[in-house]
């Protein structure tokens, strides 16, 4: 177990190192932040002053060296644009993205598992086929397109939900969450559903496939033969069996949900991390881009650990030490 953790941490550090180097070289290759940030009327003198102020006058390797030294001290640099520590900027935006991603995942699970099991138990029925065709739509429609359709239908034509933005927030344990207010929930509904759609389709498919396989397995046949009620078979035996892949995939997907929030946040003007990274790329705000990737990588490491732990709880055959190499 400890060996496994240490190896995992070593890998992660390596990933962080490689990522940060790539971003440094990458942003350098894209363009010079000064060209976009500076006032168009600025003269040469002002351009040189700004270049020095942002530390861009030093050679690239020196800039990177400084970054690594500071990063080891826990300082990921200051945003070129906002002049506040990049990590603060990201942490300020993180609750908005997290509540969106987590709500979307819950929507996906709560709707997806019953629908998927239903389709798995009645694969030939009309409703079963309808659910499956629906899930293909969920896979296929690009997120941005669905998002705008949702706005047009529910905000413009029907006027049921607010079109964009984040609603009122309430502070909870020092974090501002909109999920705690009615106004916030109304604002959250559409973007969360938009983001959940892909996840929903995924869960439906996993649940259906799992159910179809499970009901053919010996232990289900045995339980049936033993006279266990079919509600219990489905609710306990089949359910447990399909949860393993769903937990694994959803855990791993939480990361990409956070990443795909980029699109949803752009369409719904949701003030989260995803919108921040797009804006930062457009403004070549390198410290924010680097810090964002660092945060995402850390989050993935954490999520992967949790998934591994859950996995071993759900499936006693798997022990952590052997789960990965």
């Amino acid at each position: 177990m400890p060996v496994y953790f240490i190896r995992r941490m070593m890998q992660s550090v390596l990933v962080l190192f490689v990522m940060s180097l790539l971003v440094f070289v990458g942003v350098f290759a894209i363009g010079n932040p000064i060209d976009i940030l500076i006032s168009p009327e600025a003269d040469q003198h002002e351009i040189e002053r700004a270049t020095r102020a942002l530390g861009l006058d030093k050679p690239l390797w020196e800039q990177y060296g400084l970054f690594v030294v500071n990063a080891l001290k826990g300082d990921l640099g200051r945003s070129f644009v906002f002049n506040i520590p990049a990590i603060d900027l990201i942490l300020q935006r993180m609750p908005a993205t997290m509540e969106l991603a987590i709500t979307a995942t819950f929507m996906g699970v709560l709707l997806g598992i019953p629908l998927g099991m239903w389709a798995g138990l009645r694969p030939e029925s009309f409703s079963g086929k309808l659910i499956m065709s629906g899930s293909i739509l969920g896979f296929s429609l690009p997120t941005f397109w669905v998002g705008l359709m949702l706005i047009m239908i529910f905000a413009v034509f029907l006027g049921w939900l607010p079109s964009t933005g984040r609603g009122q927030t309430r502070e909870f344990l020092g974090v501002h969450l909109s999920i705690l207010t009615w106004d916030g929930l109304r604002h959250l509904a559409m973007p969360a559903f938009n983001l959940a759609l892909f996840k929903l389709s995924l869960v439906i498919r996993l649940a259906r496939a799992g159910t179809r396989e499970a009901i053919l397995q010996d232990y289900v046949k045995f339980a049936r033969a033993k006279g266990v009620s079919s509600r219990r078979i489905i609710g306990v035996h089949v359910f447990k069996n399909i949860m393993i892949p769903i937990v694994t995939v959803l855990g791993l997907e939480l990361g990409s949900t956070i990443a795909f929030a980029v699109v949803t946040e752009t369409v719904f003007a949701w003030p989260g991390m995803g919108k921040l990274i797009i804006d930062s790329i457009n403004l070549l705000d390198r410290p924010v881009i680097v810090a964002y990737l660092m945060v995402i990588v850390f989050m993935f490491i954490f999520i992967n650990l949790v998934v591994d732990l859950l996995y071993s709880v759900l499936d006693p055959r798997v022990r952590i030490s052997e789960s990965k190499g």
Partner: protein, 523 residues
């Protein structure tokens, strides 16, 4: 042509605005670009300056046509070529109750160059100032390094803070505790990337704002901003997308307010190098000389552009064909310059005269997220050049890549824009058309390296002339030389637009600012 053309709604100028018919007067306004800092001296960026205008005052204000008018300075006069006297307004109080005096101006001017990490400092507006002396609490003398007629214009960009905040850090402004100004609204809160809340300053020296509370919501996505207005979540939006304009105009619940802007969209072209990287013959082989150096070729390309067509089809009427650097009527514009007429035959003839009867090939570069419909304009221009036998390829890219490459002079023919923050024509002349001279700060955005001695001389003379009437004559002559020579090919002036829900009126501004003070409820 009238410079204001308020579209729908009652005639603006005549409308009588009665103060607040709504009980608790609140307004929610959708902004189209993100605000990066509350510090009024950190980054000179339009969205930041717009918010600062609400909370802070300036010595001199710009009206909706960018004409200067008294702000915290009641009057100013020239004592000699490089000495100015400013009389400050009496009885003005900061939000914290302290009196506004000349010491606050001194503290402000001291802080401007001392803001750390600024990516674009306000020093470009203070660099001409050689010294400031306080005569009495409401009189001050400003010395400039030489004759500098633009001092009042420059000072209209400097936000005055209280001397108590002289040492405040950017963080203090962002957190709100240093947000102590003399403006019509007090700072309430800021949720980064989401919204800014302001409340009325009842002690404001100017007209009483109609709103108790102002909420600015940041919605950078165009369709989302329109949708939020249509859904009634917002009372007003800025930067109405051209695509939605036609539909919004027919909507009875929506008012539109439009005015021509100080932003010109134009083509900059390489008139300097003998071999330009993106001009070739039709087979892609390099040419022995650069056709863009020939005035007849430039003239042909200008004639090939169907400006009314681009305005009507690409801009959906939200632009005005351009014949010079700023719309007619702005300070320094020439009455003799008119937009080039669309003339395919004439263009072909000129090309043939210049020795290119078969045309040549060119790549037009442009940004795809900087100006209104930028990449669509580039494509339309390429279509039109094809009609006179010039094969035009189109290459658009995000502005982060575009401007870095453009500044390295990698392009031959590019679409760019210029907004004159000063509201007069010396700004584009010296940045875009003056011969490049890094030391003197001339031609800093002259990405075609256009150079004309006559123009340079006229401009230098104008910049050292303090007399307004004489200076205007010189600037007009300089414009005529540069434009008749096609140092740039003007395309159109953008139109600034705002949309409001019925019952809210706005005075549209040439400078793109969205000022809550200028929104009025209609009784």
């Amino acid at each position: 042509m009238k410079r204001i053309f308020a579209a729908t709604g009652a005639g603006l100028a005549a409308a009588v605005f009665l103060a607040s018919a709504v009980a608790a007067a609140e307004i929610t306004i959708g902004l189209g670009a993100d605000v990066t800092s509350m510090d009024p001296h950190y980054h000179t960026l339009s969205p930041n300056n717009n918010i600062a205008t609400h909370v802070f005052g300036t010595l001199i204000d710009q009206d909706e046509m960018q004409k200067l008018k008294p702000g915290l300075a009641e009057s100013w006069r020239i004592i000699d070529d490089s000495t100015w006297e400013f009389k400050l307004r009496r009885g003005v109080k900061f939000h914290d109750g302290s009196d506004f005096t000349a010491d606050d101006v001194v503290a402000t001017l001291a802080r401007v160059p001392a803001v750390p990490n600024s990516p674009a400092a306000f020093t470009i507006y203070t660099k001409s100032i050689a010294g400031v002396s306080v005569v009495d609490p409401h009189t001050m003398i400003v010395k400039t390094a030489g004759p500098y007629p633009l001092l009042p214009t420059d000072l209209s960009n400097i936000f005055i803070i209280s001397q108590k905040q002289a040492k405040a850090a950017t963080e203090d402004f962002n957190a709100g505790k240093a947000m102590n100004g003399t403006g019509p609204f007090k700072f309430a809160s800021w949720a980064r990337g989401d919204r800014i809340n302001l409340v009325r300053n009842d002690g404001y020296w100017g007209p009483k704002p109609a709103w108790d509370k102002v909420t600015f919501k940041l919605i950078t996505n165009d369709p989302s901003r329109v949708a939020a207005l249509l859904a009634g979540d917002l009372n007003a939006i800025e930067i109405v997308p051209t695509a939605d304009m036609a539909k919004l105009k027919t909507n009875k619940d929506i008012n539109i307010f439009r005015v021509v802007s100080n932003r010109i969209i134009f083509f900059h072209l390489d008139t300097d190098r003998d071999v330009s990287p993106f001009v070739t013959d039709k087979q892609g082989k390099p040419l022995d000389r650069n056709p863009l150096k020939d005035l007849r070729v430039r003239k042909a390309l200008s004639k090939a552009l169907n400006r009314p067509g681009i305005v009507d089809r690409v801009m959906e009427g939200e632009a005005i064909p351009a014949g010079q650097l700023l719309p007619d009527g702005f300070y320094g514009t020439s009455p003799n310059l008119k937009p080039e007429a669309y003339d395919v035959e004439g263009a072909r003839k000129l090309l043939a005269e210049a020795g290119y009867p078969q045309g040549f090939a060119i790549t037009i570069h442009g940004p795809n997220n900087r100006y209104v419909n930028d990449e669509k304009i580039v494509q339309a221009a390429a279509q039109m050049f094809a009609r006179i036998g010039v094969d035009a390829k189109v290459e658009t890219m995000p502005s982060n890549v575009f401007f870095t490459r453009a500044n390295k002079l990698e392009f031959s023919f590019m679409l760019v824009g210029w907004g004159s923050g000063t509201g007069e024509v010396s700004s584009p002349l010296r940045s875009l058309l003056a011969t490049f001279d890094a030391a003197r700060g001339m031609g800093t955005a002259n990405r075609g390296r256009y150079s004309n001695k006559q123009m340079d001389a006229l401009l230098d003379q104008a910049l050292a002339t303090v007399d307004d009437a004489k200076r205007e004559k010189l600037l007009q002559q300089a414009s005529e030389v540069a434009i008749n020579n096609l140092g740039i090919i003007p395309l159109h002036y953008q139109v600034n637009s705002w949309a409001t829900r019925k019952g809210v009126m706005y005075v549209p501004r040439t400078d793109e600012n969205t000022l809550a003070l200028e929104f009025k409820p209609r009784s």
